[in-house]
């Protein structure tokens, strides 16, 4: 089993390496701009791997880190290096996914044992529950947070958005209301507009990543629906958010 896994991983990585090398060569011929395709490919590969990432944790984290570094390089306008990093991230993410697929059963068994070790009275496993159901239960919609006075999707929010994109891809028939909120500082009416801008920029972000805009409506409550009622910075930052409300 293990030998098999290693074997197919190396073959796979060789192919990917060749392909990405080709793409780099093609790209270098053009004029310098952000390697959007490479970044998108890497992002997609990561999203693909994410649902099984806990069975290939190391590789997945490494791929995540590479993509982050690639994005930093884009900020610095070092597009060549960014492209290389993005491709490496994509490759690692693909490997992570393959590795997780191959070791899935082993991995689940190990995790179950670990769960049982933590819980002396294990709940009986429902034999009828398939993997799909279990998967769906794991998926959830996360809230996206914003900086003060800002409606920009911050890099820190992308992880939460990736969770939500997974949910949207699994639950293909469901529509979502993106509910924009602000903290209580400032004017109620201006905050109404600011909450709407936040919801709108999340919507645009999701559409860019391939989610159908018809499934995404927006609604702003401004400062009217806080989740934290205190006046500390921590309370304020918990209130600056866009919630995903499934319909």
């Amino acid at each position: 089993m293990t030998t098999n896994a290693k074997f197919s991983r190396t073959t796979g990585s060789k192919i990917v390496l060749c392909l990405s090398g080709l793409l780099i060569a093609m790209f270098m011929a053009g004029c310098p701009k952000a390697p959007q395709k490479a970044l998108d490919d890497a992002e997609r590969a990561l999203l693909d791997a994410q649902e099984k990432s806990d069975c290939a944790e190391e590789k997945y984290r490494a791929a995540e880190k590479l993509l982050e570094e690639a994005r930093e390089l884009v900020e610095k306008k070092d597009y060549e290096a960014a492209e290389r990093k993005a491709r490496a991230a994509e490759k690692l993410a693909l490997e992570a996914r393959q590795y997780a697929d191959l070791t899935w059963e082993d991995c689940q068994r190990r995790k179950e044992l670990a769960r049982q070790a933590q819980n002396p009275q294990p709940t009986p496993v429902d034999e009828n529950a398939g993997n799909d159901n279990e998967l769906e239960e794991q998926l959830s919609l996360s809230t996206v947070y914003f900086a003060y006075d800002s409606s920009e999707v911050a890099p820190e929010s992308r992880a939460a958005l990736e969770d939500n994109i997974r949910w949207l891809r699994v639950n293909k028939d469901r529509a979502i209301i993106l509910e924009g909120h602000t903290d209580e500082r400032g004017t109620a009416e201006y905050n109404l507009s600011l909450g709407e801008r936040r919801a709108r920029s999340v919507r645009q972000y999701l559409i860019q990543l391939g989610i159908d805009g018809d499934r995404l409506s927006i609604l702003s409550y401004g400062e009217e629906k806080p989740v934290a009622y205190g006046q500390s910075d921590a309370d304020f930052s918990r209130n600056r958010r866009v919630e995903f409300i499934p319909q």
Binding site: T187, Y190, L192, S193, E196, R197, E224
Partner: protein
């Protein structure tokens, strides 16, 4: 119930003095020169003659050092009412008299425990009054009041005497029998006449404001009340968030989520109807001369200012078209211009445009968060709230040349100013005192500030009824 804020001017002038001293040490003569010119007349120039200073994190202007207004000392002994219903009405009358003369900002209502004699033994007419006694307690004016029941009707007798002359003052006020529910209106009419006698301009007690109040379920309802904080009437009674009310010509406009979108509703002739329910924001309606200025985001695209028909909500004209937020339109008194808030320079700032949307220009250049404009009835200044350099919100005014004056300082967060129709007062929200947001009334120069809602909290978005 009415907690007078210990003259803010006294405290803040001390603070300003300290600030002056400090700034003269740190910044040398320039700061001093600037400050002395502000003490001399009005304000620190913020706009057009000088290039705007590098943007600080918040507005940096202090309350100006002004001469304190001289208050006319008034004696308001207990209202005489006998027994039963009359005594209840008498208690009501004396409460309104004392509270509103105090709120007016022109009088010092003398404490009753300073009366060293028994005023209840004294009659209503000049012949029965010992003016020397009233002179000795420091009164310049004396208000005598009594209540008599005539069946179901109440007969009020309210009189103002000039203590130095020992004579009654003739006021533009006529008493007639009223139902008990009309008592406060008649007392306010008398108070307004007293204000007119001393200032030459009639008072406006009895005028009303609308506001929104948050309840414990996280919902918000629209209310109206007298400018003195009494006679509260709940206008919306639904299970939703209702906000941003304004009222004009018998109509109350407000934004409500009762149909899960911030729609614009109107309450008129006892009925609530939806006026604008375009997807996204429909808010902040301001009425002037048959036109309603509102903020619409048209499907969540972007908040801009439009004119709509106050009857059917049809769009008459789009006034702003900018990718940033444009909101909070407020009319000039002659309906020829509109002040509004725009984020087009980064943070929210106060702008002005003509009523057709032309000639949009920025008024505030100091601070990074200026919002909530309210145009003074004289048209000379616009009140607004701004975040200062310590991240507190305070109330300021800006004139049409961009000169800024500060009205509140060092007292929590003060926001959402709304001018009275006579231009004498500003009602605003403040969280001073640490009991949440409450409504306060101040004189338009900021010198006298008094709490209106001593009970409860969560009072927001006051707007004077026009």
């Amino acid at each position: 119930m009415m907690m007078q804020i210990v003259s803010r001017t006294r405290i803040s002038s001390l603070l300003v003095a300290i600030f002056l001293l400090a700034s003269s040490v740190f910044f040398g003569n320039q700061a001093l020169a600037q400050e002395s010119s502000s003490a001399n007349q009005t304000s620190v120039s913020g706009g057009f003659t000088e290039p705007p200073p590098p943007p600080p994190s918040g507005i940096e202007i202090n309350v100006r050092v002004g001469a304190r207004r001289v208050l006319v000392p008034l004696a308001v002994p207990d209202t005489q009412g006998g027994v039963g219903d009359a005594s209840k009405v008498a208690a009501q009358v004396q409460e309104i008299l004392r509270r509103n003369l105090d709120l007016a900002g022109y009088f010092k209502v003398l404490p009753t425990d300073s009366f060293f004699f028994d005023p209840s033994a004294e009659g209503m007419s000049a012949a029965d009054i010992n003016f020397q006694n009233w002179f000795n307690v420091g009164a310049q004016g004396l208000i005598k009041s009594s209540v008599r029941m005539q069946g179901e009707q109440v007969q009020l007798d309210l009189r103002l005497y000039a203590v130095d002359k020992g004579q009654p003052v003739t006021l533009k006020y006529a008493a007639k029998p009223v139902a008990p529910s009309g008592v406060d209106a008649q007392v306010n009419d008398f108070v307004n006449a007293v204000i007119e006698h001393y200032t030459g301009q009639r008072g406006i007690f009895g005028s009303r404001i609308v506001y929104a109040q948050r309840d414990s379920n996280g919902l918000k309802q629209i209310y109206s009340m007298n400018m003195d904080g009494t006679n509260r009437v709940q206008i919306t009674k639904n299970r939703a968030i209702n906000m941003l009310p304004s009222a004009s010509g018998g109509s109350v406009y407000y934004t409500s989520y009762q149909d899960n979108n911030p729609d614009l509703w109107v309450y008129r002739d006892g009925k609530h109807t939806k006026l604008s329910s375009r997807r996204g924001q429909n808010s902040g309606a301001a009425y002037c001369d048959g036109k309603l200025a509102v903020t619409l985001s048209m499907g969540g695209e972007n908040a801009d200012i439009y004119l709509i028909d106050p009857q059917d909500g049809k769009i008459l004209r789009r006034l702003t078209d900018h990718w940033s937020i444009d909101t909070s339109p407020r009319w000039s008194p002659d309906c020829s211009q509109i002040a509004f808030v725009s984020g087009r320079s980064g943070g929210p700032q106060i702008y002005v445009m003509n009523a057709d949307g032309s000639d949009q220009r920025r008024l505030t250049y100091q601070g990074s968060y200026n919002s909530n404009p309210s145009w003074s009835p004289k048209g000379d200044v616009i009140a607004f709230s701004a975040r200062d350099q310590f991240n507190h919100f305070d109330v300021f005014t800006v004139d049409l040349q961009g000169n800024i004056e500060r009205l509140t300082q060092d007292q929590g967060n003060n926001e959402e100013p709304t001018f009275s129709p006579d231009g004498r007062y500003i009602i605003f929200t403040s969280d001073r005192g640490g009991r949440g947001k409450r409504l306060w009334l101040m004189t338009a120069d900021g010198e006298i500030q008094k709490l209106l809602t001593g009970d409860g909290s969560g009072f927001t978005e006051p707007s004077w009824v026009r």
